[in-house]
């Protein structure tokens, strides 16, 4: 069946896959959110250990999802990989830095002779959860606000802003999206930790934190949504391939895709809110599932708005015609087909992750885990 798909269909399918991986990554940033909650929610060394060890069993999955997101973009839309990473250089380098320091922090924080001291590794985790996500949000924001680059006939990129990507953080829209992601991650972190840890005091604070952080995120969310539907967007003429500005483009996109655009966005947001409300006002622990699924839906809606319905997903405001669409930035028909067969493995991957996750979380994390037989090996 995959062999019969034409190039256009494959390009759309791969945009959906990349969006889905992006959505799963953002849902999994409950790890990053938990890392920043460490500073505000944990009051004792025991509480800190509970949070770190609960997140410590999951951080690699989030990390791997980010790596897969990069890999999938490279395989499916290599021109984006070349243009954005080679062009918006500093923003990506800084994002990577925050993930490099995260990768050692869980393992090294508590180990004796760790050179930098536990505090430094906690700061690393905080930077990853704050600066890292803020910059990712700013980078995704440029899908709508555009970047400053020019591609020559051979697709060689010239970036025309000397800040090399960091300029993304000077747009109110991009910045708001970044802050929204930081607070959303904290909401998800609080939901996840409520579900994963048994500890009365901590639980109470986590339930409160999920609500508070949702409230903090609202101004940023509202700014992003209002600006998104009001702003002029980039639009590509499917017949000529010429890119032009269109008033209310992204509103048009949301409406043109009533299910997967506006529908996913609204249902997603409602699910996240529902997750938080159950978490804050009832004794139930399952809020993370609503929050997680809701987040995936919201990210899908945002990516679909950015890249489908004749929209260049990586627009250049310096030279409109250099903008990247899912059609001009994609891999060849052969590669997309081959990769689609590879992607058939994804459900199996999700299945074994779910199985192992369930087996490991059957018993909630509690104080007993911290002084049990394997206490010496904990994070």
């Amino acid at each position: 069946m995959i062999g019969n798909l034409d190039l256009n269909q494959l390009q759309v399918i791969w945009w959906v896959i990349v969006s889905l991986v992006g959505g799963l990554f953002i849902a999994m940033t409950f790890v990053q959110g938990g890392q920043t909650l460490l500073a505000t929610v944990a009051r004792t060394e025991t509480e800190k250990s509970l949070i770190i060890n609960s997140l410590g069993r999951k951080w690699e999955l989030t990390f791997t999802t980010l790596v897969l997101f990069g890999g999938a973009f490279f395989a499916a839309f290599p021109l984006f990989y070349a243009t954005s990473f080679g062009g918006a250089y500093w923003v990506w380098i800084l994002i990577l830095f925050t993930f490099i320091v995260q990768a050692v922090s869980y393992e090294y924080r508590k180990k004796p002779d760790n050179l930098l001291g536990a505090k430094t590794y906690e700061v690393f985790l905080f930077i990853n959860g704050s600066v890292g996500l803020l910059l990712i949000g700013a980078a995704v924001g440029t899908f709508f606000t555009g970047s400053n680059f020019h591609l020559n006939d051979y697709h060689y990129v010239t970036w025309t802003n000397p800040l090399r990507g960091l300029e993304a953080a000077f747009s109110l829209f991009n910045l708001s999206l970044g802050f929204f992601l930081v607070f959303l991650a904290r909401v998800l972190g609080a939901l996840y930790l409520t579900n994963n840890i048994v500890h009365a005091d901590l639980e109470q604070r986590l339930r409160k934190a999920s609500l508070l952080n949702l409230i903090y995120s609202l101004p940023f969310l509202l700014y992003v949504l209002i600006d998104l539907v009001m702003m002029s967007g980039f639009s590509v003429n499917p017949a000529t391939g010429i890119v032009a500005m269109e008033k209310g483009k992204y509103l048009h996109n949301l409406l043109a895709m009533p299910v997967q655009g506006l529908g996913f966005l609204l249902v997603g947001l409602v699910l996240v809110i529902l997750g938080v409300v159950t978490n804050a006002f009832t004794e139930k622990r399952g809020g993370i599932w609503f929050g997680g699924v809701g987040t995936v839906l919201v990210v899908l809606a945002i990516f679909f708005t950015a890249g489908l319905n004749n929209t260049p997903f990586y627009p250049s405001k310096f030279d409109l015609q250099s903008s990247l669409t899912i059609h001009n930035a994609s891999s060849s028909h052969y590669t997309l087909t081959a990769m689609s067969y590879v992607a058939l493995a994804v459900p199996f991957v999700l299945a074994y992750i779910a199985y192992v996750w369930r087996a490991m979380d059957l018993r909630k994390m509690s104080k007993e885990d911290l002084d049990g037989e394997n206490a010496g090996k904990l994070y």
Binding site: G71, E373, N374
Partner: protein
Amino acid sequence: MVEHLNLSMVHWARAQFALTAMYHWLFVPLTLGLTFLCAFFETLYVKTNNEEWKRIAKFWITLFGINFAIGVATGIILEFEFGTNWSNYSWMVGDIFGAPLAAEGIFAFFIEATFFAVMFFGWDRVSKKFHLFSTWMVALGANLSALWILVANGWMQHPVGMAFNPNSARFEMKDFWAILLSPAAIDRFTHATSSGFLLSSLFIITVSSWFLLRKRNQEMAKKSIIVACIFGLLASGFVAFTGDESAYSVAHYQPMKLAAMEGLYHGEKGVGLVAFGILNDQKEPDNDKDPFLFEVKIPGLLSVLANRSPGSFVPGIDDLLYGNPSENLVGYNQRIADGKLAITDLAAYKKAQKNGDKTAAQAALASFNQHRDNLGYGYLTSVEQAVPPVPLVFYSFRTMVILGTLFPILFLLFLIYTYKDTIAEKKWLLRLGFLAVFFGYFASEAGWIVTEVGRQPWAIQDMLPVSVAHSNLTTGTVQTTFFMFLILFTTLLIAEIRIMLKQIKIGPEGE
């Protein structure tokens, strides 16, 4: 394609890749091999129910975890560095190169990430058998990830299964299986992973030797040594076999690399292999100086290694650069001239297409197709540019091979004396064993230098020189990130070594 050649930027980008890759490779071999060793120890525990094996498994798993974290940290940058520093590469071959990277994520990284948590924290959360299964899955996942990235590397050594598309001005995939099953890819995978097994066995020898010298944990040390020596011996044999296969494929697909490995300037029939030698630094291509100040050759062996035939011809650097009509070798000088025509034709084709001039476009395309095979050569500015740094490649190759030959002897000695139970008295051997892993690292990193420096000036053999593969960045930018990585990775390495040493000193639980 690239309007301004910025060679100093290219050098810094290469230096950065070398830095990050060599740091990463400090941790990868242990991830590849130590997981299997941990899985062996744990299997012995589950089979025998002997708690001692569990203690041993847990001890090595702890060391594995410390190494694994920094391996992950140094690994992520490599994936994204293709985009940040080598963006033209990413575009030119992304259609082919991106696929294995994505497959690596789907097929390998998730296995590692998922089962890693069970391996470390699942002892009292899942059944004994499921824990063992998880440890094996981590080993499998680690080695599967090596498969995909080394398939990508093998493709850079010997690009197959693709064609240049003049409309998109890039290379596009035509045959996924040809890329996956290419001999160069299989050689890279088998040689690199088995060298990782070997290095991990040396790591266990080093740590166990230290325990025996200190008269601590002697039972654990001896048990570990036996398992590591058997694994190390098997790995050594496999490393030698796959090394021979690699040399054979280098001889066919990268003759310039082979010539540099051997310091061979004038090709001959029945040429010998230089066992030891000191290169003459006055030697340049096409001058008549002797390449060696001193050399010891094994007659006829290079011909055997390269072509599996003792009297066969092996081309030298001069034959490749300037051609050798009697061996039907077209020189690089001719290929460069041909490549320049391809570049001009491609530009003419692009221009005609833009102007809507179909006749001119077709003419340009027809001419381009005649020269397209040498397109990459057109970006070289002189034939001498096509010669990799001979001394670095030559000496690295010898470091790798000589050390690689000594390791099985070391494993054998350790095995014999441990079996006789006299190992604790052999202080000289234990002192040597204590140094083993450091020699292992020399050999392993030297191997990568041969592979990567030997391919210069090509990012992708015969197709894309490094000078056109880079991003449009200033030298200062790449220098800045080079030093950022240098400082960060060095700090993390020091932290890692200190933590590792402390954990070794602490030893297994309940000592």
